[in-house]
């Protein structure tokens, strides 16, 4: 039996495994924030070009996800949450993932340049390179600040969407960048609090593993304050109307309450971590609704 297996040529990876390499669930948030950045721009973009720009953002994010999985296949194999991915599960060769990731990245950039403009292409290139080299290769295994600085990679899509429509960058998309940048630490640290063992087993220096639960809880509370400021700021600065302003105030108030609840509590033995799970889920809803409100506000005004 083992002789037959050894002689059998390896089965080529299924197309679904290539799709899984692109982290489709993460991509939905990237595509949505990119689309909202584009729709919030003061200059309309032709639907065909708008679709192409969003496609390029999605492909660029997919490429970054594939390269991340290529580099981290050893870590993924150690964590329950990720061990069924195509590389650790042995359904794909590492080289195929590398070729796929690089090919997709180049394709997305070339298409963005020829169909849209140079500014959007440069920001897309920076976001892919930042995610792969700064976050994945440099920071993730070295410092508990990995997601603080690395979070910038996921904050670029609204800037790219805006740049695709206008050809430049302005205050509003920079504030949207800041909002996602400051949203990332509380979002991921809430997750890290209830999957701490997984990260510790894999040797990833997430904040709860390195500095302990108490520090992480305080940091979640602290980061939520500038995040709320960045989220509400477009309204008093006159960059958005009251629709966005009211939604942003309510959503940020709820976020601050949930974050404060985590910051002030101490987990018990066999704790189900319900407040942490609630904040993690709410933070995803928060980002979708805030960006949705931005577009609705633009249409209303």
């Amino acid at each position: 039996m083992s002789t037959v297996s050894a002689l059998s040529p390896a089965l080529p990876a299924d197309w679904r495994d290539f799709l899984a390499l692109t982290k489709p669930r993460v991509m939905t948030l990237v595509v949505f924030t990119g689309l909202c950045g584009m729709l919030a721009a003061p200059v309309p973009i032709h639907p065909v070009l708008g679709f192409t720009a969003i496609l390029c953002i999605a492909l660029g994010a997919g490429a970054a996800g594939a390269l991340n999985q290529w580099y981290e296949s050893d870590l993924d194999a150690k964590m329950k949450r990720t061990q069924r991915r195509p590389l650790p599960a042995g359904r794909m060769e590492r080289q195929s993932a590398l070729h796929f990731g690089v090919g997709l990245a180049v394709f997305s950039l070339v298409l963005m340049y020829f169909a849209i403009n140079l500014v959007a292409t440069i920001i897309l290139a920076v976001s892919i390179l930042f995610y792969v080299f700064v976050y994945t290769i440099w920071l993730k295994r070295r410092t508990p600040q990995n997601i603080v600085i690395g979070g910038a990679a996921g904050a670029f899509p609204p800037l790219i969407g805006w740049a695709a429509a206008t050809g430049d960058v302005a205050t509003l998309p920079i504030l949207l960048f800041l909002l996602i940048f400051l949203w990332t630490p509380p979002h991921f640290w809430a997750l890290a609090l209830f999957v701490k063992t997984d990260y510790a087993n894999a040797g990833v220096p997430m904040l709860p593993v390195v500095s302990g639960e108490r520090t992480t809880r305080h940091q979640i509370g602290l980061y939520s304050i500038p995040m709320a400021v960045a989220g509400i700021a477009p309204w008093p600065l006159g960059l958005t109307g009251p629709v966005y302003g009211v939604v942003a105030v309510v959503l940020n108030a709820v976020f601050l309450v949930l974050a404060a609840r985590i910051a002030l509590r101490t987990s018990q033995p066999d704790d189900k971590m319900a407040p942490e799970k609630t904040l993690f889920k709410y933070s995803i809803l928060y980002l979708f609704v805030v960006f949705g409100a931005l577009v609705v506000d633009r249409w209303v005004s």
Partner: protein
């Protein structure tokens, strides 16, 4: 020997099926890409004429 040949045939069939499935997806994606490039070209020409 017979068993080995059977398994080998099954493996070959599985590889062929996987290759066919990937080729179909690739063909669809290339078709979509051609349509997209055509649409982008038309839009760019329109914008150039109106601008």
């Amino acid at each position: 020997m017979t068993e080995q040949n059977n398994i080998s045939a099954e493996t070959t069939d599985a590889i062929r099926a996987r290759q066919r499935s990937r080729a179909r997806i690739m063909a669809v994606l290339l078709g979509v890409f051609v349509i997209l490039v055509f649409a982008i070209s038309i839009v760019k020409i329109q914008i150039a004429h109106s601008g």
